[in-house]
Structure formats: structure tokens, C-alpha cells
């Protein structure tokens, strides 16, 4: 049912934008595209706008939203901490550091059609999570407390490093800040294809751990005694969730609150059984971010509100409301 909502929202989002394109034309453009036909009677620029500007952006925001929400839910399950979000292992600061480095170096080293900044951000995010993991692991076990602490420490070190970089590259400050605020402006099909496969794989892995997560929520010792291979599950979930987060930030910048709010929202509505919860948060995350991004680009004509700002504006008050309700 949620999937239908998502699909419906996608189609609706394709119809709105700065340029007024009548819904009928939008439908015709999409229909012709699916059937690989041409529509000569519609303006070329309108066709380009719907198929190459709006559609990839809609798909990308939905995919990223799903990844972030799913990652958030799983990490909340593993850490047993309702405040966990997909960036808790340092992916956000790592990505920001990577992106800053990329912007400051001014290289043109793209990969697979993604720009320098995206590639550097991805490496930064993955590198940081790997570092945090390494710091926290002892022998065969990894303590969730250690991970959280290591994540905080590494994040603050990287934050300082970013400030240092900005000191010597004052002129790039605005660009770095804009990137950190998160944006889907300029999304293209290449980005969609490049993140689709890794995201699908990561999502699949996480969905398969639903049962184990149900057990983990009860506590590690209890789960262990139920026969769940706790350490292995933790490893799988942490790696997959971090990978999803890294893919997400590399194409969109740092978008907060999605991975934090959507899991809670879905838990309220659908209950805490991960077998139901995981797929719903994925789709729910897609809907949420798609909605936010559509608002980000259409709320004020000609102005692009950073999507991270929209999610905070929605997520913040809502989170406070949740907090009060559970008190």
C-alpha cells in the first residue's frame, strides 16, 4: 500500500516544478518515454525538464531517503538506541571532510560519471566508518558503546580538520557549506544508475536481517542465548548500513533527520516487528525525502532551499512532539 503511495507521489512530483508544464503534457511525456516513442508536439525543453531534470531527481531522492531510513532503523536496532542515525559511525563528518578536500584540491577527477566531490565524499565516509570500526573492535567482538564513542571522537577530529582546511581556502567556504547542507539540484541519470545497484544490494542485505534484529532489540545476551550469531549480525548490519549511508551522502550531501525520524514514525504506525518495519521504513523514507525535496525546489519560485533545511524544519518539531508523547 505504501508502495502505491510512493509511486503516486513520484508521478505527482513529476508534475510540479518552477516551470509550469500542464499535467497532460507530463503524462504524455512519461508515457512516450516508457514506450520509447517521441512527442514532437511538446516543447523540447519541457521534455528535457520532465525526463532529465525532474525524474532523476525524484528517483534519486526516493532512493536516498529509503537508504537513510532503512540504515537508521537497523542501526537503532543494533545499538538499542533510539537516537542512532545512519551517520553515527562518522559517515557524515567523513563525507564532509572528503568533500571539502575534493573542493579545495580543485581536481577534475570524476569516476563513473560522478564528480570529484562525490567520489571524495564517498571515500571519506567509507574510510571513516572503517576507521571507527577498527578502533572499536576488540578481537572478535565489537562493543556498541565503543563504536559510539569512537564515532564521536573521530567526528570531532575530522571537524577540526575541515575547519583547518577552510582556514587556508577561505574562498571555497561558501561552496563547502552549500554541499554540507545537502541538495539534489542538478541530479542526473548517471547518478541514479551508479547508486542504484549498491543501494539495492545493501537494502537486500539489511532486509534479510529482520528476524535477527528483532532478537537483538531484546538485548545482546538474550539474543545470544536464543541462538542468534550476535557478532556476525552486528558486523553485517554495520557494514551494510554504513555502505548505504556513504552512497547516500556522496550524491546528495548530508541530509539529517530522515534516518532518525522515519524509523520512529513507522514504529508508531506499524509496530516494532522488524519484518514489517524494515520494508515500511524504506518506502516511508523514500516518501519523506521525496516530499521534502519537492518542497525544497518548489516552495519559493526560483529559490532552491537546501533539502537538509526542509527535513530539519519538518523533522525537528515532529521529533520534539514524539519526545513529549513518549514521556
Amino acid at each position: 500500500m505504501l508502495c502505491i503511495a510512493l509511486a503516486g507521489l513520484m508521478l505527482a512530483a513529476a508534475g510540479v516544478g518552477t516551470v509550469k508544464i500542464p499535467v497532460r503534457d507530463v503524462a504524455r511525456i512519461m508515457g512516450s518515454w516508457l514506450l520509447s516513442k517521441d512527442c514532437p508536439e511538446i516543447k523540447g525543453s519541457h521534455i528535457f525538464i520532465v525526463l532529465n531534470v525532474r525524474l532523476p531527481r525524484i528517483l534519486l531522492s526516493a532512493i536516498v531517503g529509503a537508504a537513510l531510513a532503512l540504515g537508521g532503523t537497523c542501526l537503532q536496532g543494533v545499538f538499542g538506541n533510539p537516537m542512532a542515525d545512519p551517520y553515527v559511525m562518522g559517515s557524515s563528518t567523513g563525507a564532509a571532510f572528503g568533500a571539502t578536500l575534493g573542493i579545495v584540491l580543485g581536481l577534475n577527477q570524476g569516476l563513473l560519471g560522478l564528480g570529484t566531490t562525490s567520489v571524495f565524499a564517498f571515500c571519506g565516509a567509507l574510510g571513516t566508518t572503517a576507521l571507527v570500526y577498527k578502533l572499536a573492535v576488540t578481537g572478535d567482538r565489537v562493543s556498541t558503546t565503543s563504536i559510539l564513542l569512537a564515532g564521536i571522537v573521530v567526528s570531532s577530529i575530522l571537524s577540526s580538520a575541515i575547519s583547518l582546511l577552510m582556514l587556508f581556502n577561505h574562498q571555497q567556504l561558501a561552496r563547502v557549506v552549500t554541499w554540507t547542507m545537502g541538495s539534489f539540484n542538478g541530479a542526473n541519470w548517471q547518478q541514479v544508475w551508479v547508486v542504484l545497484v549498491p543501494m539495492v544490494i545493501g537494502t537486500g542485505i539489511l532486509l534479510s536481517q529482520a528476524r535477527e534484529l528483532n532478537a537483538l532489540v531484546m538485548g545482546e545476551e538474550d539474543a545470544q542465548s536464543l541462538g542468534v550469531p550476535v557478532e556476525r549480525v552486528k558486523k553485517i548490519v554495520l557494514i551494510a548500513a554504513s555502505f548505504l549511508a556513504a552512497c547516500a551522502v556522496s550524491v546528495s550531501g548530508i541530509i539529517g533527520f530522515v534516518g532518525l525520524i522515519v524509523p520512529h514514525l513507522c514504529r508508531l504506525i506499524f509496530g516494532a516487528d522488524h519484518r514489517m518495519l524494515l520494508p515500511t521504513t524504506a518506502v516511508g523514507g523514500g516518501i519523506f525525502l521525496l516530499l521534502c525535496d519537492t518542497l525544497a525546489r518548489t516552495a519559493i519560485k526560483g529559490v532552491e532551499i537546501p533539502v537538509g533545511v526542509v527535513t530539519s524544519l519538518f523533522g525537528g518539531p515532529f521529533f520534539l512532539y514524539l519526545l513529549r508523547r513518549t514521556k
Partner: protein, 407 residues
């Protein structure tokens, strides 16, 4: 010597110097011409009639002299520094004038406008014609321009200024929120900010080209390219000659080649005039200066030696104390140690400095040798920097000489 022969001999000598002194050997494309040239403060003015030998028609109207060929009309307003090239109104540092029924116009300006490269080695003026600009032409990005670019979106305030300076402001279909000069931009619709322009809006305007400078979002430019729009991203000029080549490039894109060359020649004349009136001041006697890009608790930021602003300061006859660094970062301690004679910047920065105890020791501030300027004039490497900015700076550093600028 026989007294009777002496006087006619002297008169002959005097006549010959007068006659030959006004005749100058000018070599144009290898061919030697003897032109009636007058040098006024090192600037050669030529009798306008000579241009008939180069294929131009020369006409006198009331207070103007008009030189023209099939493609360009150059109209000098006599006894003033105003000149009009086709539809573009320009100012020079020199004035066309009449003397003894003859009209004299600036030689370099006219030759450069009709596509010659002019050099003067002290005795000999040489002009070599540059290759003609032929359409269709290929830009350095690889685009082919059939006739010219008819509509453009400007993604930088510097670009907007340069386009208006060239006289193609009416072809701009969209601009950023930062594009605020000249006043005519009010009629041009906004397409967003430098970092996040509205892609859909730009596409719906269907421009021939989009021009961006230094700050832009890669993904947006990629999408514009994918939509088949000519996308040009240039670095902002880092020195004065950079502005010249930039304007010539724009001239080629918009088929305003004469206007571009004339604009560049007018800027060169102003730069040369400024150098001329300051030439007798040796380097060690020139005042020191500091431009404030940013100040206060976030650190000192100024224009280092590899910036356009530093070169503008040098042209205006001062020494930039920040030439000991490259880039934009500086330190308060260094600033205090240098203690520049003059400090200039925008009102916000100067207010910060004046209000803060840290800067009290700077003699430029206590001695009131500071100037609040419009940062856009100095920071955007556009013709306005030479048209207006130079005068403002020379007025600050050498107020006794600014009236001799002539523009």
C-alpha cells in the same frame, strides 16, 4: 659666416624641423607611411585624413569626426574624451582635437579597433594586422558558432557586467541574484543564486549559451550541456591583460568584435595614461596600501600578489603590502608590522576595524588615510575596475595627480 646667408639658413632649419617633426614614419603591415603625427604626452595622434589610405572614410560633422568602413563607425566627439564605436559609447584617456583646420585622433585606438596590433619603440610606430575573425568559428571549448550568440544566461555578476560593457546587455535572458550592475539588470529575470541556480527556469528560457565564472555548481553545468546549451565556464581574470583577452573572447562569441577591440583599446589607453602620470615616482617613494577583503574575529583576508586587485593597486601607483603572500589569507600581526599608508575596503569591514581596539595601532586608520569603497568595483575584474576603480584608487594614493588622468 656671411651674415646675409645666416638668416635664411636659420629659417630653413626652423621650417624643416617643424615640417619633419610633424611627420612620423608609421609601418603598417610592412608598408611604410609618412603620417602627420603629433605626440601629446607620449600619445600619438594622427591626422584623421590619413585613414583614407587604410580604407576608411573620414567625415567631419559639427563637433565630431567620423571614421567608417563597411563594418564599423568610429565617432570621436572633438575636444572631449568620448568616442562611439557603432552603438557602444566609450571614454578614453585622450581627446581628439583640431589644430590648424586639421583633425587629430588617437592613432593606437583607431588602429586597434580595426584589428591591428600596435607597438611603439620610441622612434618607430609599427602596426600589424591581426587575423580576421571569421564565422562560423570554433570556441576554445569546442563549440561552433554560426553567426553569434543571440541569447545568454549569466551565472556570475562579473559576466553580467562584462556583457553590458560590451553592449550586449539586451541579449541576457537570466541573471543571478548577485548580478546588480548596471542598473538595467532590474529588467532581467532572476535564475537563482551562484551555487544553486534554478535549472528548470534556465532551461525554460532556452538560451543559446550560459556563461559562468569561478563559482558554479558542476552538476548544473553538466545538465545544461546535456540539454544542448553552449556552456562556458571561465576563470575570473587575474590581471589586467586577462580582462582584455576575456573581452575579446566575448566579442567573438557575440560578433561584436569591433566593439570589443575598441573597449580593450580604451582600457589600455587609461592604463597607459595612469602609468604615464605616475612614471616619475620611483618604487620606493610609492605609498603602501592594503585592501580589506575580510577582517575581525574570523581572521584577516586580503588580496595577495597573484590577484587582480593587487595588480590594480600597483597600476594605481601604490605598493600592496600583502604582496608577500599568494591567495587571500593574511594575519593581523603582519598587517601591523607593515603598517600600510592607506587602507581601503567596504563599509562593513572598515567599520569593524575602526571599532576594534586591535587595529588602533594602524596609522592609516588613526590618520584618517582610509577609504570606504564599493567592493564590487574593485573585486569584479571587469571594465569598471579600470573605468571607475582606477580613478578612485589614484585619487586615494596620489590626490595631487588625479586631475591629470583625463578620464
Amino acid at each position: 659666416m656671411n651674415r646675409k646667408l645666416l638668416i635664411p639658413l636659420i629659417m630653413l632649419l626652423v621650417f624643416s624641423t617643424v615640417a619633419f617633426g610633424a611627420e612620423q614614419l608609421v609601418s603598417i603591415d610592412g608598408r611604410e607611411y609618412l603620417f602627420d603625427v603629433k605626440f601629446i604626452e607620449k600619445v600619438p595622434f594622427v591626422n584623421a585624413e590619413h585613414f583614407k589610405e587604410l580604407g576608411l572614410t573620414v567625415k567631419r560633422a559639427d563637433e565630431a569626426v567620423i571614421l567608417a568602413n563597411a563594418e564599423v563607425e568610429i565617432r570621436f566627439v572633438l575636444e572631449s574624451n568620448q568616442v562611439q564605436v557603432n552603438d557602444l559609447a566609450l571614454t578614453l584617456a585622450e581627446r581628439a582635437f583640431t589644430q590648424e583646420e586639421k583633425t587629430y585622433v588617437p592613432l593606437s585606438f583607431v588602429l586597434e579597433t580595426i584589428n591591428y596590433q600596435v607597438s611603439f619603440d620610441g622612434t618607430h610606430i609599427t602596426a600589424l594586422s591581426n587575423p580576421e575573425v571569421v564565422y562560423p568559428l570554433k570556441t576554445q571549448e569546442g563549440y561552433v558558432i554560426g553567426e553569434d550568440v543571440k541569447s545568454v544566461i549569466s551565472l556570475a555578476p562579473g559576466v553580467t557586467e562584462k556583457l553590458f560593457a560590451l553592449g550586449v546587455g539586451d541579449r541576457i535572458k537570466g541573471r543571478t541574484t548577485y548580478c546588480n550592475y548596471p542598473a538595467e539588470v532590474g529588467n532581467i529575470p532572476l535564475v537563482g543564486t551562484l551555487d544553486e541556480p534554478d535549472l528548470e527556469l534556465m532551461l525554460s528560457l532556452e538560451p543559446d549559451a550560459v556563461i559562468a565564472e569561478t563559482h558554479f555548481k558542476e552538476e548544473i553545468l553538466k545538465q545544461l550541456k546535456a540539454a544542448g546549451i553552449m556552456t562556458i565556464a571561465r576563470k575570473s581574470p587575474e590581471d589586467v591583460s586577462g580582462i582584455y583577452s576575456y573581452m575579446l573572447d566575448l566579442g567573438m562569441l557575440f560578433n561584436k568584435n569591433y566593439e570589443a577591440r575598441a573597449l580593450v583599446a580604451s582600457m589600455k589607453s587609461k592604463a597607459a595614461r595612469t602609468e604615464y602620470i605616475l612614471q616619475d615616482i620611483p618604487l620606493e617613494d610609492r605609498p603602501t596600501a592594503y585592501y580589506v577583503v575580510g577582517t575581525g574575529q574570523w581572521g584577516e583576508y586580503t588580496a595577495g600578489r597573484d590577484t587582480f586587485i593587487s595588480r590594480l593597486i600597483a597600476l594605481a601607483g601604490a605598493v600592496n603590502v600583502a604582496d608577500d603572500v599568494e591567495g587571500w589569507s593574511y594575519s593581523l600581526e603582519r598587517l601591523i608590522e607593515h603598517d600600510p599608508d592607506y587602507i581601503f575596503g567596504n563599509d562593513f569591514n572598515l567599520d569593524t576595524m575602526l571599532a576594534n581596539d586591535n587595529y588602533r595601532v594602524l596609522s592609516a586608520l588613526t590618520g584618517k588615510n582610509y577609504l570606504v569603497i564599493d567592493q564590487d568595483v574593485i573585486e569584479r575584474a571587469a571594465p569598471r575596475a579600470l573605468d571607475e576603480g582606477l580613478r578612485v584608487l589614484v585619487g586615494l594614493f596620489h590626490p595631487d595627480r588625479v586631475d591629470r588622468l583625463g578620464f
